[in-house]
């Protein structure tokens, strides 16, 4: 039972870690960045005085190529720019994203529109971040004017209707970002060029192949995966969490191993009489050790299998809906973590249980098997 419970605990803990990481990753991908983004080579390396001079002029050709690439599910052209937003009473600054609303609504599902609707096919819609909406005291249906400089330097403006208010859970993002249709941003900035293209995939494992294909066809471009795009929050958070989980897992592993060895050892030490009886009736030390080892291995295997099964059962029966977690640092939204049990971890925890039980058997068994027979028979 000890082996089973220890194996199960480690397995579930790992599943929890994986669930948190995956949730975090999916949130990052499906809220903001997609699986990765394409832009002109070197564009992200520095701040440009005139960024539009480094935007892509051949988007149509690129889009056609990308859509024909296997495993690419979505292609999202985008521009970003700074602007002022006003409702006639209040003017605030923001960072606008010109997007294909209809396409993006199919993939960016963790944007979490809390009021109204996401930007879809509305020609004059605007989607406000939660903090921005609060600053403007805006609600769905309100009219907002967006003012920005065109690429030629002149001031331009568009009147838009608030379709919805979103929050991603990142306050820094929600306080400044707004989204409007790409056509409106092109009009506003007076340029048809595209700053970046976000890619949506079914599987994150497909990104390297797709990035390589893009670079081969368009050597002037570069493809950046989401974990680099969001290095500060996502990658650093993941690295930090992984380190933390690693330490916790090591502590749990140590406690589980100690517990298993202790329980197995006690079980054997309590059987001194039995082992003394075996020795008295002609079993050699080696014979006794073989018996104990066989027992230890069988118990370890049985316990390991039971533990893995128990973890799966507990997850299915009680944790299928996930565990509700409070907001993470920098995030304003609670999220639900699914316990994602990994087959390779099933093998590892099973082996841990089996090997630890065997080790405990060897440690205690060799002590008892080598005891003088009379002492073993005599012990209480």
């Amino acid at each position: 039972m000890t082996v089973a419970l220890g194996t199960s605990a480690l397995f579930i803990f790992n599943g929890f870690n994986v669930g948190v990481m995956n949730q975090y990753r999916e949130n990052t991908i499906h809220a903001r960045y997609g699986n990765g983004q394409i832009n002109l080579k070197g564009y992200r390396d520095k701040v440009h005085e005139k960024p539009w001079e480094h935007w892509m002029t051949n988007y149509a050709e690129l889009a056609q190529k990308l859509k024909a690439t296997p495993n690419v599910k979505h292609v999202f052209p985008r521009v970003e720019f700074f602007a002022l937003l006003t409702n006639g009473r209040v003017t605030v600054s923001g960072r606008g994203q010109g997007v294909d609303g209809a396409e993006e609504s199919k993939f960016f599902t963790t944007l979490n529109v809390e009021q109204g609707a996401t930007l879809a096919a509305q020609p004059d819609g605007i989607l406000l971040g939660q903090g921005l909406a609060r600053a403007l005291d805006a609600k769905p249906g309100d009219r907002i004017t967006v003012l920005a400089n065109t690429i030629h330097g002149s001031m331009n403006g568009v009147d838009l209707v608030v379709t919805g208010i979103f929050h991603t859970g990142s306050k820094d993002f929600d306080d400044v970002v707004f989204r409007l249709p790409l056509a409106q941003s092109s009009l506003l900035l007076d340029t048809p060029h595209i700053e970046s293209v976000a890619i949506g995939l079914d599987r994150i494992e497909d990104w390297p192949a797709i990035a390589a294909a893009v670079l081969q066809s368009f050597p002037e471009l570069e493809a950046t995966p989401f974990e680099i795009l969001d290095k500060v929050y996502y990658q650093h958070s993941v690295d930090w969490l992984n380190a933390q989980y690693g330490i916790l897992q090591s502590i749990i592993l140590f406690i589980v191993i100690l517990g298993i060895i202790n329980t197995v050892s006690i079980g054997i030490l309590e059987r001194k009489h039995e082992i003394g009886n075996l020795r008295a009736n002609g079993e050699s030390v080696q014979d006794v050790m073989k018996l104990l080892m066989l027992e230890g291995v069988v118990l370890g295997i049985a316990g390991g299998l039971l533990g893995v099964g128990l973890a799966w059962f507990l997850n299915f029966a009680f944790m299928r809906g996930g565990i509700l977690m409070p907001p993470a640092p920098g995030i304003t939204r609670v999220f639900r973590v699914l316990i994602e049990l990994q087959p390779d971890m099933a093998l590892k925890t099973f082996l841990m249980g089996a090997l630890t039980a065997s080790l405990g058997t060897v440690i205690a068994g060799s002590k008892v098997a080598r005891m003088p027979i009379a002492d073993a028979l005599r012990s209480t």
Binding site: N277, R279, A280, N281, D287, I373, A374, L377
Partner: protein, 224 residues
């Protein structure tokens, strides 16, 4: 009658905290084949130590011990294992049955470990359990048996090996008088009918009364 055991100037010491304890101080005697002997004496007299040496579960520290004509004093452990496996049967005060095995399986266990063929094992198990009157209880587990029944299973297990010597350390100490007497009657019958050499250890007068010879120990020395 030839000697089953020949013990010459046997000494034994225990090292615990402090100075060593002399459990046996130069004991010499012989036990004939087919004898039923009881080692007696007060607590601490050395009778259990002597029994353990005769049962080869304690080493011969000083002196000589011959069993069936073979000097076991300096015998390697492997050879002693074989003797214990084939020639000696043990009965303990606490029975020491395997709780997860039935009576039949308990009796069969050491025969199986010894590599005896199945048919022969079945024959011996049945014979042993019948001799102790427990064949009809062969599927019971020790926990569902009385103390007397458990000790009878222990006897059956010991004799199933067809040993030359039966060694019994306080075999009735955990039993009531009547049950103890029944057990000793079975042992006595085995001794008389099969010529099995029996060595008991006890300070119980009832047990001592069954032995045809008593070897009395006082402070590690013999007093016959």
């Amino acid at each position: 009658m030839s000697a089953c055991y020949k013990v010459q100037d046997l000494k034994f010491r225990y090292w615990l905290d402090g100075p060593p304890i002399e459990a046996l101080r130069g004991v010499s005697f012989e036990i004939a084949q087919g004898a039923m002997v009881c080692l007696t004496g007060p607590s601490g007299s050395g009778k259990t130590t002597l029994l353990n040496v005769l049962g080869l579960v304690e080493p011969v520290q000083t002196g000589k011990v011959h069993l069936q004509g073979h000097d076991v004093s300096r015998m390697p452990e492997g050879a002693k294992n074989e003797i214990r496996k084939l020639q000696l049967g043990f009965i303990f005060q606490q029975f020491h049955l395997f709780p997860v095995l039935t009576a039949e399986e308990n009796v069969d266990y050491f025969l199986a470990r010894g590599g005896l063929p199945g048919a022969e094992r079945k024959k011996r198990v049945r014979s042993a359990l019948e001799q102790v009157g427990l064949w009809n209880h062969r599927t019971k587990y020790p926990l569902s048996m009385s103390g007397g029944q458990r000790q009878r299973v222990a006897i059956a297990r010991a004799i199933a090996k067809n040993p030359k010597v039966l060694i019994a350390d306080e075999p009735t100490a955990s039993l009531d008088q009547k049950t103890g007497k029944d057990i000793l009657t079975i042992i006595e019958k085995l001794n008389k009918e099969t010529g099995l050499t029996v060595i008991l250890s006890s300070h119980d007068p009832m047990v001592i009364s069954f032995a045809r010879r008593r070897i009395k120990l006082i402070d590690g020395k013999l007093e016959e």
